[in-house]
């Protein structure tokens, strides 16, 4: 017969201070793990929502990043006749020649300057993306005007609406702030393709072409026909694949976070063991009594083991609560693919809290096993006499 759970709950509440302190210790460990997962989750979300399943990104042959790619206008003109490319309501091919470069701006976090991506593009390029202006207006073709992503406006004081920023051959006026949902475009500055290429003397050397396929089934065919065309000499990939690969920018932080939480877990495990051993020795007489009442050694073992799980579970909940305020907080990480900073939000979702809770339970299981076994092993008479 099993010992009722209320017995364990009451025991945990009787020694409130000890229970809370131990649970809090486990909670901090879990919080570090959950925060780490939330960071990687946010980064992944940012990149995943950047790519559209219908989109194909075209780079120079063998190119792996827009920044180091080069694309001439003649190749672009040859490419857009491909029948796999969708057309907009005006009948124009949904293809956008774009130039990407990186500039350095002072941010709140690093006053010495962080790199951010600048993208030159035309009206079709904007039409292809799911972005909308939240403040101000779009840049006008032929003007030295730029629109900045929401997180750029937030993190870089120089790049706020109405300010001027300096890059290329002179000043550019910030005329709008765009919202690109969760995507990486929030960390970019957009301007007119012709103006930007002229500033960098790259009129005939843009970076990449973004295409929309007519439908999902046409995507592989479009990619193959572009890759196989020796005349074009380009590499085409799904836009989603391109951005998925960039999630690795968060790998160093992810590894550090996991490493730290594992070491902290070892410490918390010892602490949980300590608390459970104290509980066992304090309740020696109770254990003896329970045995006299007819509870088996196994019932005692499971009861103490379960109490440890409860304690750790409470710790896990505390940890999730501690990490919760991080949700939605913005941070940035540099990507070696773009040589620029991507801003993204921590995302504390159930999918990152669940591993945290399981981790806490595992801690409780490891920490509770030895004390529970020692409780079960006590001889009735000795236990009764000790109390």
């Amino acid at each position: 017969m099993a010992i009722p759970i209320t017995y364990n709950l009451r025991n945990l509440t009787v020694r409130k201070a000890t229970t809370l302190m131990t649970a809090f210790g486990i909670g901090l460990t879990v919080a570090v793990l959950v925060a780490d997962f939330a960071l990687v989750n946010g980064l992944r979300q940012a990149f995943q929502s950047t790519g559209d399943p219908l989109h194909v990104l075209v780079l120079r042959k063998g190119g792996t990043a827009e920044l180091s790619s080069a694309m001439s206008r003649s190749v672009y003109r040859d490419m857009i006749t491909n029948p796999g490319i969708a057309r907009n309501s005006a009948g124009e091919p949904m293809a956008s020649l774009e130039m990407v470069t990186v500039i350095s701006l002072a941010s709140i976090d690093s006053p010495s300057g962080m790199s951010i991506s600048v993208r030159g593009l035309g009206p079709i390029g904007i039409e292809l993306r799911h972005v909308r202006i939240v403040e101000g207006r779009w840049f006008r073709p032929g003007h030295r005007e730029v629109v900045v992503g929401r997180s750029v406006a937030k993190r870089y004081p120089q790049a706020r609406l109405g300010n001027q920023i300096h890059f290329g051959k002179g000043m550019w006026k910030v005329v709008g702030v765009m919202d690109a949902g969760q995507s990486a475009f929030n960390s970019e500055i957009w301007g007119d393709l012709n103006q930007i290429t002229a500033d960098y003397n790259r009129q005939d050397a843009a970076s990449s072409v973004l295409l929309r396929a007519t439908d999902a089934a046409a995507v592989p065919a479009l990619i193959n026909s572009l890759n196989d065309d020796r005349r074009l000499n380009v590499t085409a990939v799904r836009e989603q694949t391109y951005y998925d690969n960039q999630t690795s920018a968060g790998a160093p932080l992810q590894i550090l976070g996991i490493f730290v939480s594992i070491i902290m877990a070892v410490g918390s495990c010892f602490a949980a063991m300590n608390t459970m051993f104290a509980a066992v020795s304090r309740r020696a007489a109770e254990i003896g009594t329970l045995r006299v009442l007819g509870f088996s050694r196994f019932s005692i073992l499971t009861s103490f083991f379960f109490e440890s799980l409860l304690l750790a579970g409470a710790g896990g909940l505390i940890g999730c609560l501690l990490a919760l305020p991080l949700n939605g907080m913005t941070t940035g990480v540099g990507s070696f693919a773009t040589f620029s900073e991507i801003a993204f939000n921590f995302r504390v979702t159930p999918s990152v809290m669940l591993p945290g809770l399981l981790f806490a339970l595992l801690l409780g299981a490891v920490g509770g096993l030895l004390p529970a076994r020692s409780a079960a092993r006590q001889e009735i008479l000795v236990a009764l006499r000790e109390g």
Partner: protein
């Protein structure tokens, strides 16, 4: 107080299991704390800066590292007053053997052999090998640690297949150098690379290394170079080698804040664990403390004895933590992961002292509430106590 030391030691060894678990728990936490502090030091203070390193400046394109500069800049930089020597410093990515094995990752830089030894004045290399490097077009020199790690001997043929550059380098190892700051580097002749490249990318360089005459000249030279190229198509950014390395760290995200947050969480966990143990110990000894008081021990002495016990446990944990952290740093230093900064990871005496100081402070602070409660409790109340 020292005359009570035997009593304090006896007290702390009374419940060996509990003391052992507590020391283990906080030992692991202190190990993490010391390790994170060592990381912090390496990342943000970069080990120590040698006098030679302090004279070295790094000039790259203001826009980003991925953007090249005209090779003609070199002559212009050389003419700046205060410049002792300058060399092109071209990053050559490429693949050595199998790129998937992180062991095969190291820096491959193209430079001018005649200038390298002036600029890296701290480099220790036999005169004959210097001569060989300056005269052998396909010769290269490597850090001794790197050569040892990959089992290279003088005369070794080293093939590196280019990725950014459409070139395969066939190099011969002609020298091995010793230097405190660059363990993972191979330097080869820039002329060899230049000759192998197609004309359109032959005369561009990704960076220059500049040696200033005196430390006083360093900021002046940096300013003069950047002013000289201001408003040109390729503006420059010149910073000390150290500042440049730090800018790479900022790429990993807001690491400073993350490391500090984790250190805070770890310290707080230690506080909880140590406080929990002490209050369990004190609770068990209430009667005994009452007896001590009847024997004439003053509240102050009792406070001291309990605080002393906390101190002993904390110092033991701190010492074990430092020892573990030193082992961990050593393991990472020798790990073949090819990350330059890990080679400098060291548990310095200062970090050890800091960790021990934190140990003593957390030990005393955590013990203060239970200790002062014990010291204040009236004799009769404590003798009556049945816990």
């Amino acid at each position: 107080m020292t005359k009570y030391l035997p009593l304090i030691l006896k007290n702390s060894l009374r419940n060996r299991k509990r003391t052992g678990l507590t020391v283990a728990s906080i030992g692991v936490s202190f190990c993490l704390l010391a390790f994170l502090l060592a990381m912090y030091r390496v990342l943000f203070y970069g080990g120590q800066q040698t006098p030679a390193q302090a004279l070295r400046l790094f000039t790259h394109n203001r826009v980003s590292l991925a953007q090249p500069m005209p090779a003609s800049y070199e002559a212009k930089i050389a003419s700046v007053p205060g410049v002792q020597a300058v060399t092109s410093w071209q990053w050559f990515g490429g693949v050595y053997k199998d790129a998937r094995d992180p062991k095969n990752f190291f820096m491959r830089m193209a430079a001018e052999p005649a200038k390298v030894f002036t600029i890296f004045s701290e480099m220790q290399i036999p005169e004959a090998q210097k001569q060989a490097f300056e005269h052998d077009r396909t010769g290269c020199i490597a850090a001794k640690a790197l050569a040892d790690r990959l089992g290279w001997k003088l005369g070794q043929r080293i093939t590196i297949v280019g990725d950014i550059f459409p070139v395969t380098l066939e190099l011969t190892l002609v020298g091995e150098f010793d230097t405190p700051n660059h363990d993972e580097m191979l330097i080869f002749n820039h002329d060899y690379l230049r000759e192998s490249l197609p004309p359109n990318i032959r005369d561009i360089v990704s960076a220059f290394l500049v040696e200033a005459d005196t430390p006083h000249d360093v900021p002046l030279v940096a300013k003069a170079i950047d002013t000289m190229f201001a408003n040109s198509p390729a503006e420059t950014k010149t910073e000390t080698e150290r500042a440049f390395q730090l800018s790479f760290v900022s790429f990993l995200g807001n690491l400073k804040l993350f490391l500090m947050a984790i250190c805070g969480a770890v310290t707080f966990t230690i506080l909880l664990v140590s406080g929990n143990t002490l209050s369990m110990a004190v609770r068990e000894r209430v009667r005994e403390i009452g007896i001590l008081k009847t024997l004439g021990f003053t509240p102050g002495t009792i406070l001291g004895i309990i605080l002393g016990e906390a101190g002993v446990v904390a110092v033991a944990g701190g010492a074990i933590g430092c020892a573990l952290a030193a082992v961990m740093c050593g393991m990472l230093r020798n790990a073949e992961v090819g990350m330059q900064f890990l080679k400098l990871l060291r548990l310095t005496p200062a970090i050890g002292a800091l960790t021990l100081a934190v140990a003593i402070i957390t030990g005393l602070v955590s013990a203060l509430p239970p200790a002062s409660r014990a010291a204040r409790t009236a004799i009769l109340a404590s003798l009556r106590y049945t816990g």
